[in-house]
């Protein structure tokens, strides 16, 4: 009999317990997303389950929301979406640009510096999100800074740095110094050896970092909830303002768009870093 953590044959109550608990875990993880997807195709106004009729009417409504701006609403969905995308783009580019040289320096310098820096750049991960939101709000308000879109982009950069750095570092781990030395001995200047040899080899990790930053920034709610203003607000905040009173099916259809984009991006990251460590 093959011995394993999950017995393939026999195993009685043990196998049953493992599979039972795993099933509950899967259900808790995925049921909300599944229900949102099903209900977004419902033809009725009311959220009765299962839907009696299916239709695309809420998807058309989303298209309407984006094309015919309702001037009476305080926040515009088009503006929020554009802000979300712009912030995500800035966060993605800046965090990656600063992490590439850092990852290079950490992989090529002594151990103490590396450990200290890695600790420093993991801090935003363990720092409570609420506190991050409040701390940035306190600074922006009490110093009365006029930051515009950077109000949201700066905290987001801090949030994604640990993820981007981790991806760049794991990409650096596989690149030995010899490759660089070979390039230099063939006449390349050290900066050129980095730019033409090391960076291209880091490509998969850099891309994974970019996508991670994009996903996290685009979906971020807690910190943004503290930092948004009427002029600078993101899509999750718009969704929140829309559903404070009641749940409307058009937001469900919009949610399905977000789910599809997220799943696509996660699959992409998973493929990029396949076989080289975990997602987290």
């Amino acid at each position: 009999m093959r011995v394993g953590l999950l017995p393939t044959e026999g195993g009685g109550t043990y196998r049953f317990a493992i599979l039972f608990l795993a099933t509950i875990g899967i259900l808790i993880s995925s049921l909300p997303v599944i229900v949102v997807t099903i209900m977004s195709f419902s033809a009725s106004e009311y959220s009765s389950f299962p839907p009696t009729e299916f239709s695309f009417r809420w998807y058309l409504e989303v298209v309407q929301l984006f094309t015919n701006e309702d001037p009476s609403s305080a926040q515009s969905v088009v503006d929020s979406t554009l802000t979300s995308l712009l912030v995500a783009f800035l966060v993605m580019v800046i965090s990656t640009l600063v992490c590439i040289p850092l990852a290079y320096a950490l992989a090529r310098s002594n151990r103490n510096l590396r450990e200290g820096m890695e600790l420093l750049f993991t801090l935003p991960l363990v720092f409570p999100l609420v506190m991050l939101g409040i701390a940035f709000l306190l600074i922006a308000e009490s110093l009365q800074l006029e930051l515009g879109i950077w109000r949201i982009a700066i905290p987001h950069i801090a949030l994604v740095l640990p993820f981007v750095l981790r991806n760049c570092l794991s990409a650096m781990n596989g690149i030995s110094v010899e490759i660089e030395e070979a390039a230099i001995s063939l006449g390349a200047s050290p900066p050129r050896a980095i730019w033409d040899v090391v960076v291209p080899l880091m490509k998969a990790g850099i891309l994974a970092g970019l996508i991670f930053a994009l996903i996290i920034s685009f979906n971020e709610f807690t910190v943004t909830f503290f930092m948004y203003t009427i002029d600078v607000s993101t899509l999750p905040i718009w969704m929140y303002s829309r559903t404070v009173s009641s749940l409307d099916p058009a937001t469900l259809a919009l949610s399905v768009f977000i789910i599809v984009v997220d799943v696509f991006l996660v699959v992409l990251v998973d493929k990029l870093i396949a076989g080289r460590g975990n997602l987290f």
């Binding site: 997303v33 609420v130 409040i134 709000l137 306190l138 009490s142 660089e180 789910i259």
Partner: protein, 285 residues
């Protein structure tokens, strides 16, 4: 030596842009500490522990207790679900199903929390999936209230923090050599016995680490109690937010935040110390 290819000065130069990017975060950390020690509620003025003293109220005490209780219960549930999930995930042969399972577990952590809150409202609300199916089956007459109370918040916490436990445990499970399990089995140990006496001890450092991260994450939850607790479940995150938004008691919010940070950091440090203690104890045996 190959590890010191780059001179220190140059290394720091390379690190400088990233350091600038993280500087606002460090400034924010420092600012909140300073604000919590302010004598005034709205500005930084003088040095006093007044904000901390003002927090010594039964209301705040209840909130701390509720936060710790929910975070603890959620952590226990997460660990009970995460270990079997990790076993299943590591024993799946088909890479398609492995990827599908990975994504369905990971998604709740990164997906827009609003979307997930909608899902729970549709599932558990008074006219939601669960209540209407139970009613149709004749099991209940009046809808169960599972939302906007501690049950709803607990489910949301479990869902969003599950991936934080599953993926580190998957790493730990992969590191277990199958020979240990074979040895246990050939010595006559049953599945439960092997699990209790071989698998869990081998996984222990990974389990403690995962549990402490899940606990810290849940203790500082904000969006889940806001969206699924309907403001009735006053976890610390919400209390801190209320101090800022209607009350403008910034130093109080900063002080409450410092308490939250200290609590979560304490759990993280204590657990890593615990792991180190048990592993060194094993080595000296």
């Amino acid at each position: 030596m190959s590890t010191e290819f780059l001179p220190r000065k140059q290394a720091l130069l390379f690190a400088a842009p990233a350091f600038i990017a993280i500087l606002p975060f460090l400034g924010a950390c420092f600012y909140i500490l300073r604000f919590s020690l302010s004598g005034e509620q709205g500005t930084i003025e003088g040095l006093s522990f007044q904000a901390y003293r003002d927090l010594m109220t039964p209301f705040f005490g209840r909130s701390v207790w509720l936060t710790l209780k929910l975070a603890f219960v959620a952590t226990v549930i997460v660990m009970v679900l995460a270990v079997p999930l990790a076993f299943v995930l590591t024993s799946l042969r088909s890479s398609f199903f492995r990827r599908l399972l990975t994504i369905s577990i990971l998604l709740p952590l990164i997906l827009n929390l609003l979307v997930q809150a909608y899902g729970w409202i549709l599932l558990l609300g008074p006219s939601g999936v669960l209540n209407s199916s139970l009613k149709a089956l004749g099991i209940i007459e009046r809808p169960l209230f599972l939302l906007f109370n501690e049950t709803g918040v607990l489910l949301g916490l479990v869902q969003t923090s599950l991936p934080l436990a599953v993926f580190p445990i998957v790493g730990a499970v992969r590191a277990i050599s199958p020979e240990y399990l074979e040895a246990a089995s050939s010595l006559g140990a049953g599945h439960w016995r092997t699990f209790k006496d071989v698998t869990v001890p081998l996984l222990r450092p990974g389990l403690v680490g995962a549990a402490s991260i899940v606990f810290a994450f849940n203790a500082s939850a904000f969006a889940i109690p806001l969206l699924l607790g309907g403001r009735r479940v006053q976890m610390m995150g919400l209390v801190i937010r209320d101090m800022i938004s209607p009350l403008f008691n910034w130093s109080g919010a900063a002080a409450a935040g410092m308490i939250l940070i200290v609590l979560t950091l304490f759990v993280l440090v204590a657990s890593s110390w615990l792991v180190r203690l048990t592993t060194t104890a094993k080595e000296t045996h």
